[in-house]
Symmetry: C2
Subunit: 383 residues, 2 copies
């Protein structure tokens, strides 16, 4: 059901011919109101794509009526011409759906450094506007795929109101945000301020904790649009919980579909002196190429976990570190614990627990293994 | 000629049976004086192997008479028993070469988390002591190899004096230090303070700038021992230059022999506001898995370079970044520059230049590509 699960939203997508493959590559999401309140978070990469720069400005007044999204080209590192292209996308969308350009957010994904074929993009916008419907959420989710093998949607409901969403992302998945575009919609009635707080809190512990390959994109965007058409204004905590549910669901779908991955790895750091410590340790472990290779080879190599922990500034005593892999405490007090051959790593999901024994804080980071398929897929991508 | 190129040093190595392969795995380097001045730098990983902890203490008085090194086991994350093993290695070496244990440095390399077979280690120390000779530098360099395909030695000379050295390291190569053991010797006459300053300055711009796979080891050690037997005391700048030459030579040999790598990549960052900025940007680029895959695939994907630069806190304007790959400025002003098909990436060596256009500082980081062979080698290492 995707972005049209919530009332008040229309979506539609087309094959605009931006992708050489001929797959669907252009989507529109339109908020028919009565409210147009919106919030967004963007990549923390300082090299930001033209559509990110545009959407940031469009969102400044907390109001978005439509989102135009394309796959097949990121419109990143494209200079003044690329900025102009993003503006034209907003203007054409505004014209097609009868709003003003500053109410239109623009999202692009694909190869960096290449200009978009604007003739096809603008024709695609017109065609997609003709297809807008309350059932268009699914086709919009399909059109934003790049190397994704499946499209990603999620829905959560409160009493009388709904939050729905779609996501794309399979590589360049790392903090700040994973490399992804996400559009969330709700028919709840909420101000831009409430939406912003709900979105930031939800993203902080979901998309921001995905670190598949340590590479941060130039295009990451998460938008939350509210139509208010349910007529219900849920409490902020209630709304945040629903947004969090949808974000977590989509984040785990990203990890499950990461390029070339054969394992989904949950790194849980407990006993930390602070949440920041737990996140720092979790990220360091999640980014350790040698460990990611070992887990790919189904080798419970806890020494590589300790060596990753040792590079952080977190509070811990190296002689009091415990590590469990799939429930087996293979490392106790910074040295060998239970026998490593008790660990079964044959499944796709791996649970890694690090106990820093320095406090009560914790965090979870999601990552993937490092595989020859990842190397293959990413050494051939642009050619 | 390795560690015995400088006068006053003996070395010897044996097959102690620590490695299952039966390859040489234990080496001694002995300083016969008249001076025993020494300096050392160690991993900045906070999880430090027992031999690192031991050697740090032994070096505290600026004096080392002998070094015992083993491959086949890192003696890292081995608890109080591992600390005892490192102490026994120093004591046995002291006994065999007639010095005191606190004059003996200990270096171990191999798998983390496994205790050493101490019966074999101590018998090996006795046997290696019997083989000590002024021609033993080469066999010592061979005995410290782990996944290295070749042994690594280097020599530089001043008027009447010499600096020689050996190194091992092929994976877990990253800052702080690369995963490596290095022993440097000189027959120059120099105080521990002068040696320490020369070594730190040389390491700072050589080993510390190797970042093959972003993984920092628990065992990294670089030692510099001076016998003074040339009777010549070179000026500190002269000595530093020779030590730098040997360190740079060995560092480039590490990059050339990195596990599974098919490319040696030099990332030169110029136009930086500070050296720290240049190093931060260089490291970020060198650690970007997606870029390393692209270069493996001989794809001049400068967008991934920009996306890596954007994650740093260095001073730059995203619309004024220039990037050259093998001399072709494929990115100008943060957007596409000269045609990418002008770039020839078929050779083993790749030169990547980033111009931040924000100042006069620069730095070079050496790294490798990311290959299916790296994944293969590191998913099977401990099993």
């Amino acid at each position: 059901m995707s972005v049209t699960a919530a009332r008040g939203f229309l979506a539609g997508a087309v094959r605009a011919g931006i992708k050489e493959s001929g797959d669907p590559d252009l989507a529109l999401v339109v908020n028919r109101g009565p409210s147009r309140a919106a919030a967004g978070v963007f990549t923390s990469n300082r090299v930001q794509a033209a559509p990110v720069r545009w959407s940031r400005r469009a969102l400044a007044d907390g109001r978005i009526s439509a989102v135009v999204l394309n796959s097949g080209g990121a419109n990143a590192c494209t200079g003044p011409g690329g900025a102009e292209d993003a503006r034209v996308m907003a203007e054409r969308t505004a014209l097609a759906v009868e709003v003003t350009p500053d109410e239109v957010a623009v999202c692009s994904t694909g190869l960096i450094g290449v200009r978009l074929p604007m003739g096809r993009v603008t024709a695609g916008i017109t065609a997609a506007a003709d297809r807008l419907s309350p059932e268009g959420g699914e086709e919009a989710a399909v059109a934003i795929k790049t190397t994704d093998s499946v499209h990603k949607t999620a829905v959560a409901s409160g009493p009388g109101w709904t939050v729905g969403g779609m996501a794309k992302g399979a590589g360049m998945l790392a903090p700040g945000l994973a490399t992804m575009l996400v559009v969330l919609t709700t028919d709840a009635d909420a101000s831009a301020e409430v939406l912003d707080a709900a979105l930031r809190e939800a993203v902080r512990t979901t998309f921001d904790r995905v670190d598949s390959d340590g590479c941060m994109s130039t295009n990451d965007t998460v938008l939350l649009l509210a139509s208010g058409s349910s007529g219900i204004a849920p409490g902020p905590a209630e709304l945040t919980a629903a947004v969090h549910t949808v974000c977590r669901d989509l984040a785990l779908q990203l990890v499950a579909d990461a390029e070339g991955a054969s394992k989904e790895i949950e790194v849980a750091v407990v006993g930390a002196a602070s949440e920041a410590d737990a996140v720092e340790v979790g990220r360091s472990v999640a980014r350790n190429n040698l460990l990611k290779c070992a887990l790919h080879g189904e080798d419970p190599n806890w020494g590589r976990v300790l060596s990753a922990i040792g590079t952080t500034s977190a509070v811990f005593d190296a002689d009091r570190l415990d590590v469990a892999i799939n429930g087996v405490w293979v490392c106790r007090d910074g040295a060998a614990g239970e026998p490593r051959d008790k660990v079964d790593l044959s499944g796709r999901r791996i649970a890694l627990t690090v106990d820093l024994r320095s406090g009560d804080s914790s965090a979870v980071i999601w990552t993937n293994d490092l595989t020859a398929e990842y190397v293959h897929e990413n050494s051939a991508y642009s050619s």
